[in-house]
Structure formats: C-alpha cells, structure tokens
C-alpha cells in the first residue's frame, strides 16, 4: 500500500528533475533554436505534473497548446529572424550581478510564501463528482460558465483578426 502512495511522489521527483534539467539547458544554450527545444521540454514536464495532480484535461491542454502550438510558434519566430549568431560569451557586469541578486531575492520570497502558506489537508472526496476529469470540465464549462466560454470565442476572433492585420500591413510594406 505504501508503494502506491509513494509512487506519485517518485514520479514527481523524476518529472521535477526533468523540468529543472530542461530549464538549466534553456538558460545555458548559446543558440536560440536549442533554447526553443528546451522550452518544449519544460512544457512537456509541466503537462506531466498536471496529469500527476489529477488534472487530465489541463495536462492534455498543456501538451496540445504549449508543447504543440506555442513551441512551434517560437520556432517559427526564430526561423523568420536572424538566428545564426550565437550569444556572446557571458560577462559579469554590474547590471548582471544586480539582476542575479534580484532573482535570488525573488526566489527566496516565493519560497518563504510557499512554506508559510497553510495548505488545505488532502481530501479524499472526489472533486470531479464521480465523473472523469474532461466530463467534469465540460459540465462546468457549459452549465455554469456559459458566458465566459462565449467570451473566449470573442478573444480568439480578436487574436485571429490581429494576425490577419499584421500580415496585411506587411504586404503593404512590400508594395511601397
């Protein structure tokens, strides 16, 4: 019994190690295209964490949108621009040192807040109300949150129109 209680914990440590490894690679690579691949790894690790927490739908959404679409978008953005130049070697300037101090301070504050928060005790009750996770999401989305759902389509249409306008502006630049 203890093994099954501990198995998610072991999984968590493996996934956390994977995410941290990808994050360190993201920071240490010299070429942006490798950084984009590393960020894809971070997204996949986050999806695994969501699934580990029991949020199947969010996990699959993370895979589909972030690991799939957003990483491709980043790749495209890199391939459209001049990406051949590698970053110059790292130097310790005053600004970099100040940034490092600020980052460490922020991390310390976040850790302090997380440690001092009292988390609700683990409840055995089924939060999905006996349904599988995507069904529970669907019921909540289409019964309780109808208006926000329709607003999402407006947000998507705004995004689409924005993309079209950006592309059209570029066409006019070519004509000039």
């Amino acid at each position: 019994m203890t093994f099954f209680l501990n198995a998610p914990m072991i999984g968590f440590y493996i996934i956390a190690l994977f995410i941290l490894g990808c994050a360190v690679m993201l920071l240490s690579f010299q070429r942006v295209i490798y950084m984009a691949l590393a960020i894809g790894g971070v997204f996949i690790g986050c999806a695994a964490i969501y699934i580990l927490l029991g949020a199947d739908f969010v996990g699959v959404a993370q895979l589909l949108i972030y690991a799939g679409a957003i990483t491709i978008l980043i790749m495209f953005a890199i391939m459209l621009t001049n990406h051949e130049a590698a970053d110059p070697p790292h130097k310790w300037t005053v600004r970099n040192i100040l940034s490092a101090v600020a980052a460490v301070l922020l991390g310390a504050v976040l850790l302090l807040v997380i440690r001092s928060t009292t988390w609700p005790p683990e409840v055995e009750a089924d939060v999905n109300g006996g349904n599988s996770n995507p069904v529970a999401v669907g019921l909540a989305l289409f019964q309780n949150y109808t208006v926000p759902f329709e607003l999402v389509s407006l947000l998507l249409i705004v995004g689409m129109v924005g993309a079209v306008i950006l592309a059209r502006e570029r066409k006019e630049d070519e004509e000039e």
């Binding site: 949108i65 391939m79 459209l80 349904n131 289409f142 249409i157 079209v164 059209r168």
Partner: protein
C-alpha cells in the same frame, strides 16, 4: 485512485519504449549488425540526391508565421470541442446551441481571413 495511476503507468511505459527503441537500434544492436565502411561521399548530408548546398538554418518567409498564428487559434478551438463532446449526452440541446455560437464566431474570423486573401499563396 489506483485505477487512475494504472492507466498512466502504460503511458509511461510507452514513453520509455519510444525512447529506448531508437537508442537500441542506432547505438546498441545496429552497429553489431551493419557493415561499417565510411567514405567521404557516404558522410555527406542526404538532400534528395543533390549535392547539399547552403546552411540548414535558412530564414523562412514571414508568411509562414501567419499560418502558425491561425493554427494556434484553431488549436485552442479544438481544445474546447473535446470537453463538450465527452459531456454532450449530459448537456443536451443548450450546449449544442452554445457550441454552434462559438463555432459561428470563429467561422466569421476564418471568413475574414479568407476575404482578406491571407490564405492565398501568391
């Protein structure tokens, strides 16, 4: 809860198999079976039979980016279709109308993109 983890153990198993298969065939079993006589010609990059030229990392046309952006929008739309489809029997007619409104608004966006000729490749 045990049932839940059981399902994902198989997913983990498939991921491990997927990683091990190319590793085994390329670096472990493959070198034992295949002959190994590399020459200069064999080592060049395969480019559909032509002599390879230029760098692999060329700049792409900016028009591809628009397709990537539209892909993200429709990817998000697909994501919302899934919970609707699996809970459809429980939701009934009201959810169908909701989804039709949702899809109609996105089709307006697609028609807008179409009318502005961004889907054409000229």
């Amino acid at each position: 809860m045990f049932q839940y983890w059981n399902g994902y153990l198989f997913v983990a198993l498939f991921i491990i198999l997927g990683i091990l298969l190319p590793v085994a065939s390329l670096w472990v079993i493959g070198p034992l079976l295949r002959p190994n006589h590399p020459t200069q010609g064999k080592r060049t990059t395969y480019e559909s039979g032509l002599e390879p030229f230029g760098d692999a990392r060329v700049r792409y046309n900016a028009r591809y980016y628009l397709f990537a952006l539209l892909f993200v929008v429709f990817d998000v739309e697909t994501l919302f279709l899934y919970p609707w489809a699996v809970s459809y029997k429980r939701l009934g007619m009201f959810a169908l109308v909701e989804m039709l409104i949702f899809l109609f608004l996105l089709v307006i966006g697609l028609v807008y993109a179409w009318r502005k000729k961004v889907l054409e490749w000229t």
